[in-house]
Symmetry: C2
Subunit: 250 residues, 2 copies
C-alpha cells in the first residue's frame, strides 16, 4: 500500500486541483469524501484511488479490487476535504460514461440551476421518484462540484445524470413519444389540470428567471404550481419534487 | 435623522448581538437585511429601526412612519451583515405576536429540523401551499436565525409561525377536528392511500431521525412518500412540499 505523508506531494497537488471544474473537465476525474458517498461510488465501480489514514476503519463489505489504496496523513485529508470535520476517507473517481439511455419513463431536464445544493437535491429527488435519467443543461452549475455531490447523498451514482443541450434533448424525447412539460408562470396551466402520462419529461429552470423562453417554446405544454398564499414562488428543488411525484404515478 | 459612524457605537454593538439566539430571545428583536425582506417586514409592521447608508435609494412606496431611521457607514453595514455583498439596508424588527389562530385549514408542524435553510424553505413552501399556520417545535433551529429568514424569502412575515410544544399542539388540533398526519418510514401508509381532508395537519421531522416516536404515537395516521429509485430518503423540505401540495387541494 502506497503512503503519502507530504501535502507537497505531486499527486496530492493534482487531487487538490479536482476542486476546480476546469481540472475535472480536463482529467475526467472528480473527488468525493465521506463513508456514505464513497460506498455508493464503490458500488458503481467508478473509484480509482482511495485515500485513508492509519486510523480509518474500512467497512468489511467494501470491495477494493483494482482500486489504488493510499495511506495519507491527517494534514493531507484536511487539505483535500471541503467539510469542517472530515471523515477520513476520500475517493478519486472517474466520471461515468452512459451509453444509450432508455427512452421510457420520466425524465428531468434542468436548465441553468446555479445553486449546487439545489442541483444536488434535485438529482436526489429524481432518484427517489424513479426518474429514468436527468439531463443537466449547459448553463447549470457543475454536477461534480463537491457541494452538489454531497447534496445528492449518493443519488448521482444511482441513475444516469447527463450533461446536454436541452434544445436538442426536447425534440429527441418527443420523437420517442415522451411528452415534454415546461414550467413557467406565464402562458401555462396548473399542473393538476394535466393527466399524468407514462412517458413524460419535466423541464425546470433557473432560481431567478425560470426556464429559458427558447426551451418553453419547444415543449408540448407548460405548467405551473398554483401559489395559494403570499409567497412569490417555490424553491426550485421543492417545485421539482411536487411535480415529479405528481408525474411518477402515471 | 440619526447618524452613526462608529462600529464601536453602543447601539451597533447591541444590534450585532442579535445574530445570537440568546440575545434575540432576551430582547424579542431580530435583524434582517436586503430590500426584499425589509419590504416584506415593513408590510407586516414589525420594523422598529431601519439602517441605511448615504447611498441607499429607498423605494418611494415604503411607508416609514413611526420607524426610527439611522444613517450608518459602510463599515457598520459590513459589521452587521451576514452576506458577502450586502445590500445597504438592514432592519431591526420585533418578533410578531400572534393571538388566537384559526383552527381551520392545513397546518405544518415541524419537529427538530436542524438546518436553517431547510426550515426557511419549509416556511416558504407552507406559505405557497396556503397553510393556515406553521408550528415550529422546541427542538428546531431558531426561526429568527439569519439564514432561516433569508430562506423563507419573506414568507416568515406572511403567515403565523409559532414556536410550540408539538405534543400539546397535536391533541389541541385534534380537539378542533383537524386530522393529524405524521411522517414515518415505519408503520405508515403511502400518502396517496389517504384521501385529502379539508382540515389536516402534517408533522415532519429531523433530517436524520425523522419525527420523534412520542409524537408519531399521538397522530391520527402516519404516512410515507414511496421511494421508487435507490435514494434512501427525500430532503425534508422537498418531502414537505410533496405532502403539503397533496393535502392543500382537499
Amino acid at each position: 500500500m502506497k503512503r503519502i505523508d507530504s501535502v507537497q506531494n505531486a499527486s496530492v497537488k493534482s487531487w487538490k486541483k479536482l476542486h476546480t471544474k476546469k481540472e475535472r473537465e480536463k482529467t475526467g476525474l472528480f473527488i468525493i469524501e465521506g463513508f456514505h458517498l464513497v460506498e455508493e461510488a464503490l458500488k458503481s465501480d467508478i473509484v480509482e484511488t482511495l485515500l485513508l489514514t492509519e486510523e480509518t476503519n474500512i467497512p468489511a463489505a467494501w470491495k477494493l479490487d483494482n482500486i489504488s489504496l493510499v495511506i495519507v496523513t491527517e494534514e493531507v485529508i484536511q487539505l483535500l476535504s471541503e467539510t469542517e470535520t472530515p471523515q477520513h476517507v476520500i475517493a478519486i473517481c472517474k466520471k461515468q460514461a452512459y451509453g444509450e439511455i432508455s427512452m421510457e419513463g420520466t425524465f428531468l431536464l434542468i436548465d441553468a440551476v446555479q445553486d449546487p445544493g439545489n442541483l444536488g437535491t434535485m438529482i436526489r429527488t429524481a432518484d427517489a421518484a424513479g426518474v429514468t435519467a436527468v439531463i443537466v443543461g449547459n448553463g447549470c452549475v457543475d454536477v461534480y462540484n463537491g457541494k452538489t455531490i454531497r447534496s445528492t447523498q449518493g443519488s448521482l451514482f444511482h441513475l444516469p445524470v447527463l450533461k446536454g443541450d436541452l434544445s436538442e434533448w426536447i425534440p429527441k424525447l418527443q420523437e420517442n413519444r415522451v411528452t415534454v412539460y415546461g414550467t413557467s408562470l406565464q402562458n401555462a396551466k396548473p399542473y393538476q389540470d394535466v393527466q399524468p402520462v407514462k412517458n413524460a419529461a419535466l423541464v425546470v429552470g433557473n432560481e431567478g428567471s425560470g426556464v429559458q423562453q427558447e426551451l418553453l417554446s419547444l415543449t408540448n405544454e407548460n405548467l405551473y404550481i398554483p401559489i395559494h398564499g403570499q409567497a412569490e414562488s417555490l424553491n426550485v428543488s421543492v417545485a421539482t419534487g411536487v411535480l415529479l411525484y405528481y408525474f411518477c404515478h402515471a
